[in-house]
């Protein structure tokens, strides 16, 4: 056993910082610059790996064709029309759904960054932790816009008629606001959960009942009472109904719009701080 030569005995005075005491703040321009650089990174990812766009490109096509041609005839009849009636019904609903499925992608992508260690690099750089998350959200919104555009193109081809362009834009905007709120949930899961697969599995488990237990695909009147009680409070019903009213006109939308906005704001206010906090304190 040799003597240990510990350089600084514990009794040595604690070192004092010699530079100005206050910690630097990152200005708004800094945040924008950082977020921009990280958005560029995520766009380069898509360029590198075009397959990652499959969901945004194919999902709207497949879902539209599937629902319109499989259920369209019979649900349309129940609506008092035919397939054309259903197209007008389901397209706004599918638009609402795009936001949800895209939101899940933001969580899995975020989670993968933690696995690879690139997140440690980001966290050791003088940037706001929120910039990393905001960049993910911006890119995901771009993907959502692409998915929505494709959905509308397919819809127009198969005979969807837009009653109000302004209403259409408002509906897209509303879907995005709600999508952002959901993204904070998935970002939190991206930080907290162990793997991207877990997030995906969990996501489907939660999203499927929410999506189908709503007015997205079919009117809720014929559902049993207990289910109606659920669908009435399901924010996706409000979003789908609002989008439908805005795009097709002819029915009052104010209530559904407010309910959707209320949900979006509430979810964001609760989940964004949690996501940022979890990210900040992640070890």
């Amino acid at each position: 056993m040799s003597a240990t030569a510990v350089k600084a005995p514990p009794s040595a005075p604690a070192p004092q910082p010699t530079k100005d005491q206050a910690d630097a703040r990152i200005g708004l321009r800094g945040h924008i610059r950082h977020t921009g650089a990280l958005v560029r990174r995520n766009l380069l990812w898509i360029k590198q790996d075009a397959e990652s766009m499959f969901d945004a490109v194919l999902m709207p096509i497949i879902f539209t064709l599937l629902f319109v041609y499989v259920f369209g005839g019979s649900v349309g009849q129940a609506l008092g029309g035919g397939r054309d009636e259903y197209i007008q019904y389901v397209i706004p609903g599918l638009m609402a759904m795009m936001g949800m499925n895209m939101a899940m992608g933001v969580g899995t992508g975020f989670n993968q960054d933690f696995q690879t260690g690139v997140m440690d690099r980001f966290r050791s750089l003088p940037i706001g932790r929120s910039s990393v998350m905001l960049a993910k959200i911006v890119v995901e919104l771009l993907r959502m816009l692409i998915a929505t555009t494709i959905l509308l193109v397919v819809a127009l081809i198969i005979g969807f008629s837009v009653e109000s362009v302004l209403g259409l834009l408002a509906a897209v905007g509303l879907a995005m606001v709600f999508g952002i709120a959901l993204m904070w949930i998935f970002l939190t899961m991206g930080v907290v959960m162990k793997s991207a697969q877990a997030i995906q599995g969990m996501g489907f488990l939660v999203l499927m009942p929410l999506q189908f237990g709503s007015s997205i695909f079919a009117p809720t009147q014929s559902m049993p009472g207990w289910l109606q009680a659920f669908t009435d409070y399901n924010p996706l019903s409000s979003l789908a109904d609002a989008a439908r009213g805005l795009m097709n006109g002819g029915q009052p939308v104010a209530h559904d719009v407010w309910v959707t906005l209320g949900w979006s704001v509430a979810l964001t206010l609760v989940m964004a701080p949690i996501a940022i906090h979890k990210f900040r304190t992640k070890t």
Binding site: S2, K7, P9, G30, R33, H34, L44, D49
Partner: protein, 353 residues
């Protein structure tokens, strides 16, 4: 050692007046029952390389993560380049670089795009980011591969890109967390050369964690040995080497029965430096710590005089385990250390020497 004093006339950044670029006192970080850091004290003198040597799970990575603001210590203080780790994390992040087993580059991005992005994140202008990226790619011999995604890089290229990425902001202090773990000897030498050059030409202060005595010897001027979250030894490399015995002579007598007589003969002759011989019965060898070539010659002479026939004789650098054994009197704490730290023979000296 390796040009530690040859820093040209670079202005030194991050002086605190006492010459320490990194100052750590009583740093503690517990994870539940696990004491990852249990009161660590250390200093890194400006413009030098401090090697932090320890087995897996000794707390090396936790230390680096505390010092690079990735985690907050439970107690204790750490000042890096004049900034307090807990109170001034944003300022601190501007003056440090981090390269290691965990912090790495974005595999999907090209080498250039990685460096450009980091430039922008460090608030360089677009133009500055471009020229800095190009310059560092050139310097780390990555210009050819600049446009390829980093995932297509070889292990050595990856580490060079990691190093380049941590140099974008011209940091005053650089953390290298096991920078050559998992690399083959040739690539390891490449990385060592780059690190030496960074110290020599950029005057950067380096805190290096490693499991390899040889790596510490190659790069560091001072060494801190940690185990179970505590500093167990520290000092200049030469000083510690003298304790550990610099090199180890592994002698295999032709007759296994001669093992103990061999060890006894050498101990009697006082040829074992400051330590004593170790008999490894399983391997049928005697380990002798030696400090010089003369000593090696004397060992052979002594054994010949005693009439002991040797089947094999080889010099080795001490493994982490042996360092621990001689410094602390006990083996490195993790049971898997024996498999992760292979004994490194002098066969590979490489371009470094």
């Amino acid at each position: 050692m390796y040009g530690m004093t040859d820093i040209h006339n670079k202005p030194r950044r991050g002086t605190d007046g006492t010459g320490s670029a990194v100052s750590v006192r009583g740093l503690v970080k517990h994870y539940g029952e696990t004491k990852a850091l249990d009161g660590v004290d250390l200093d890194v003198r400006e413009g030098t390389v401090l090697g932090v040597l320890g087995p897996n799970g000794a707390g090396k990575t936790t230390l680096v993560r505390c010092l690079s603001t990735l985690i907050t210590p439970d107690s204790g203080t750490a000042v890096v380049a004049g900034y307090d780790v807990v109170r001034q994390p944003r300022q601190l992040r501007r003056v440090i670089g981090l390269t290691g087993q965990y912090a790495s580059v974005d595999e999907k991005l090209s080498g250039y795009d990685n460096l450009y992005m980091i430039g922008r994140l460090l608030d360089l202008t677009r133009k500055e980011s471009r020229s800095r990226a190009d310059a560092l790619l050139e310097r780390f011999s990555l210009t050819e591969a600049a446009k390829r995604p980093a995932r297509t890089y070889s292990g050595g290229m990856r580490r060079r890109l990691d190093l380049a990425a941590s140099m974008i902001g011209s940091p005053a202090v650089l953390y290298l967390d096991e920078p050559t773990t998992g690399l083959d000897p040739r690539t390891r030498n490449e990385v060592w050369e780059e690190v030496k050059r960074m110290v020599r030409e950029d005057g950067v202060t380096v805190l290096l964690t490693t499991q390899y005595m040889e790596e510490a010897e190659q790069l560091a001027s001072e060494l801190t040995v940690i185990d179970r979250g505590r500093v167990v030894a520290g000092g200049g490399i030469g000083e510690l080497k003298a304790k550990v015995g610099g090199r180890t002579l592994r002698i295999r007598p032709a007759d296994p029965a001669q093992l103990r007589p061999t060890a006894a003969a050498l101990d009697e002759a006082g040829l074992t430096g400051l330590a004593t011989t170790t008999v490894d019965t399983d391997a049928g060898t005697v380990l002798v710590p030696i400090l010089s070539d003369e000593q090696l010659t004397a060992v052979v002479g002594t054994l010949t005089a005693r009439g002991i026939t040797l089947a094999d004789i080889a010099t080795e650098l001490p493994s982490l385990d042996e360092v621990f054994l001689s410094l602390t009197g006990h083996r490195a704490s993790t049971p898997d250390t024996a498999t992760t730290t292979t004994t490194e023979t002098t066969e590979y000296e490489g371009a470094a020497a």
